[in-house]
Symmetry: C2
Subunit: 178 residues, 2 copies
């Protein structure tokens, strides 16, 4: 068995950066790894889905289905996707079983300053809508296995925190997240 490591958080909170570092750390440990990034997956798995709650949930369910297939075959699966709805994340957790929820947390104003994809600028200019945290909801995890405050710590510190949780799980796979 292996673990699904699910990074949730606002756009520009740092999910992709942390995911890359976590994947590298998992490979260093000799583990098989796949990374499902929300944006990449939208093109391949979820073409045509929009940003309503229904479509966002369907997007997350599909990623969850693929994560389930991979993890039950011993592949560590890192997911980086906004995944704004708590209940949908919990649904995926129940399906996948061994699930490590990582809350990639930075205040909205920090994310807006980074604005890697220019999405905040566009919504403020009235050129975009349904932007999570601005005019679309984000429900933070209540009890994430790991929380990374990316406004207060560097990406490698955040990744190290995630990898420590993985190491604990590897030492005792029947633990709380199993």
């Amino acid at each position: 068995m292996s673990l699904a490591i699910w990074l949730t958080g606002l756009s520009s909170a740092g999910k992709t950066t942390i995911a890359e570092l976590v994947c590298a750390g998992l490979r260093q440990r000799g583990l098989k790894v796949e990374w499902l990034d929300g944006d990449a997956v939208r093109r391949l798995l979820c073409r045509g889905l929009g940003f309503t709650k229904e479509d966002r949930d369907e997007n997350i369910r599909r990623i969850g289905f693929v994560a389930e297939l991979l993890t039950r075959n011993g592949i560590f699966t890192v997911v980086s996707a906004i995944s704004p709805y708590r209940e949908t994340r919990e649904e995926v957790r129940r399906r996948v079983g061994a699930f490590l929820e990582v809350y990639v947390n930075a205040p909205l104003e920090v994310c807006e300053r980074r604005d890697v994809k220019g999405i905040y600028r566009r919504v403020r200019a009235g050129e975009a809508a349904y932007v999570t945290g601005v005019d679309d909801p984000y429900e933070p995890p209540l009890k994430p296995e790991v929380e990374c405050r990316t406004d207060l710590e560097a990406p490698d510190e955040s990744a190290a925190r995630v990898l420590r949780a993985v190491d604990l799980w590897l030492a005792e796979p029947a633990g709380p997240t199993a």
Copy 2:
């Protein structure tokens, strides 16, 4: 590396039956196996997709994406899906790499007689449309790695034929299908 074993053919041609037997045979060989069945996957991965050429192609591309993720991680992936369009199957073959195309072939009249899902009865009664082989195209493979004439041979004979091809590939994974 592992192999994607792709069963294509009309509804009621015998894809599901052969897929089950092939999965059992692969597991007996100690291999990791996942089975992606077209109908099951439509519910989980492809909800909302219809039966136009565009939607059928999207369905097959998504299955192909998942098959690619699985096979590159050493999991033998059996797909049973009508997958009526030749060019789309070839596109998946190029993506996946190690691809064994199995043409599950029975004449339409034999499939109609079996009619496991009642789909042929419904289209003949005018209650259904876009049924592959009746009022929607099926493009048979030109050079499948394996052809199973399920009107002429029993399911276990068909499965044995597929498993022989797998054994040949296992003996020489850099062979023609790699």
